[in-house]
Symmetry: C2
Subunit: 291 residues, 2 copies
DNA sequence: CATTATTACGAATAACGTAACGATG
DNA sequence: CATCGTTACGTTATTCGTAATAATG
């Protein structure tokens, strides 16, 4: 049961005339007859019957025509739908955000104010899905391979958020917090993964008393003084609560790289524009930039 | 854009895996790749893109899948729909009724009481449409060719309906009604055609003062005594009104044949049963039967 | 006898399968 | 190096078109 046969059938069902339909279809009459015959054989039902010199739909043929007509119309819409999808895609930006979420959504808000017709599809660390722009975080020296893709790296220090009264100098040593309660993000990738990796290198094992997969919750716990926690210097914004301060860590290597990647080949015009804006946006907020 | 290509595409879109899909489809992997490539070429859009070792739907591919999936499901229903139509047709009787309408519908009522699941499709003298049973009327000797099809003929006299006081004998001569007002059916086929033909043969020209395409209206006019009119002896039933009588016509040839035909080949079981009942029904009402 | 649908047969097109290749983790 | 997708090429199968045949009014 091929699509061409059904198109032929539909045409003949409308005109109830082989010769005329053959002309309109641009094929020879025998080809039409054969195609109809094949269809009848596959469906095991007579679709037309002779009525004098002409032919006429059988009841089965009428049933088939009722089924087929709307389907063929739907098929003819497919190329249009594809073209629309292709056109729409030019204004769609697909983002895979694994870090720096708040900065990214802020950038999106700014972008949409400038380009209202832009559409966004945002996944969180779902590497299966397609993405035009991706924001990840890696350890500075570590396995973070910048990849063959165009990428841009911003480095920032990882600080420790501690109660104000414990802040004695310009920086702190982790060893002083061997027994302190830690509040951490949950999960293995992103910021948590970087912190775990760095602690491992420094030979330090934080006493994690509370975890959450929401940075906002972690922020609140730290702000309430319930524990200390790692905190990126800038990208997460200032900590609320006046009795908590952010101090650099004296131990070496406590920093992270935020990597902004763009898909290799095909990404729409608006994705490129957004990428440029996102880089500028992050650069301004971070105050420092490295490639 | 062939149906097979779309089936292949649908399968691959679901698994996002060429090799597995090829196995499930029972074709070689290269054939799958080629089919997808052809489809992409026709639609002028990339449908899949490489994601590492595997492949992934592009946005256009997702749009196509959304369009195609329900259509393929609908196509798979076609054979079932045809089978249903074929089965249902066994209990459907298609009738083309050009004469003896009241008797036919009475027969249908009787038949349905016996076989409730039977369905009827009734057209009035629409020879284009398909019919299993056909009821026509022809002049006895005339061009009415009983056809190669199985047919059954019932002959009845055509009488004249006249006011009772004018009825002087057992029959009347048309010449006596040369100036009488006639009430006739409109149209050229059926009973009217037979009457016109017979009058022409008899060298008689009725003075038609009123025509209607509805036998019921004609019946009323005659019953009210507004004119005289031709009336089949039995098949239209008795005339209402006690001051009108039905008298035979002395002029020769005033009769009509009611022809019941059955379609040559394919008509369902119930159509055959109804045909038998209709013949018996008419035979009983007419009192006389000829083949 | 003119028109319409069907059958027969040769030719062209397109799909498939095997094998070799390229890419990727 | 093992797996997956792609390209190359020879083979097979299906479909189409021309011509001849049958049926119908």
């Amino acid at each position: 049961m091929e699509l061409l046969q059904l198109r032929y059938f539909h045409e003949v069902a409308q005109t109830q005339h082989m010769t005329n339909s053959a002309k309109r279809l641009g094929v020879a009459q025998p080809a039409l007859t054969q195609a109809i015959r094949r269809l009848e054989g596959e469906l095991d039902a007579k679709l037309f019957e002779r009525a004098g010199r002409n032919i006429r739909l059988t009841p089965c043929g009428e049933a088939l025509e009722a089924k087929v007509a709307p389907l063929l119309a739907a098929f003819d819409e497919i190329p249009l739908a594809i073209a629309q999808a292709k056109g729409q895609e030019r204004d769609t930006v697909r983002i895979d955000v694994e870090a720096a979420t708040s900065m990214t959504v802020d950038a999106i808000a700014v972008f949409r104010a400038t380009v209202p017709q832009a559409a966004f599809v945002i996944n969180q660390a779902n590497s299966e899905a397609r993405w035009d722009v991706r924001v990840r975080t890696v350890t500075p020296g570590g396995g973070g391979k910048p990849d063959a893709r165009t990428s841009q790296v911003f480095r920032e220090r990882i600080c420790l958020a501690i109660p104000k009264e414990q802040a004695k100098g310009k920086s702190v040593c982790l060893a002083d917090f061997a027994d302190a309660p830690f509040v951490c993000l949950a999960g293995t990738r992103g910021f948590r993964g970087v912190c775990d990796e760095l602690c491992l290198k420094a030979g330090f094992a934080p006493n994690v008393v509370f975890e959450s997969d929401s940075p906002d919750v972690v922020r609140k716990f730290i702000a309430l003084g319930l524990g200390v926690g790692f905190w990126p210097e800038r990208s997460w914004g200032a900590l609320e609560g006046s009795d908590v301060v952010l101090v650099p860590i004296a131990d070496p290597g406590f920093a992270r790289d935020i990597v902004v990647e763009t898909a290799k080949h095909p990404f729409g015009q608006k994705a490129a524009e957004f990428h440029a804006l996102l880089l500028e946006f992050i650069r301004r907020r971070m105050g420092e930039a490295d490639s």
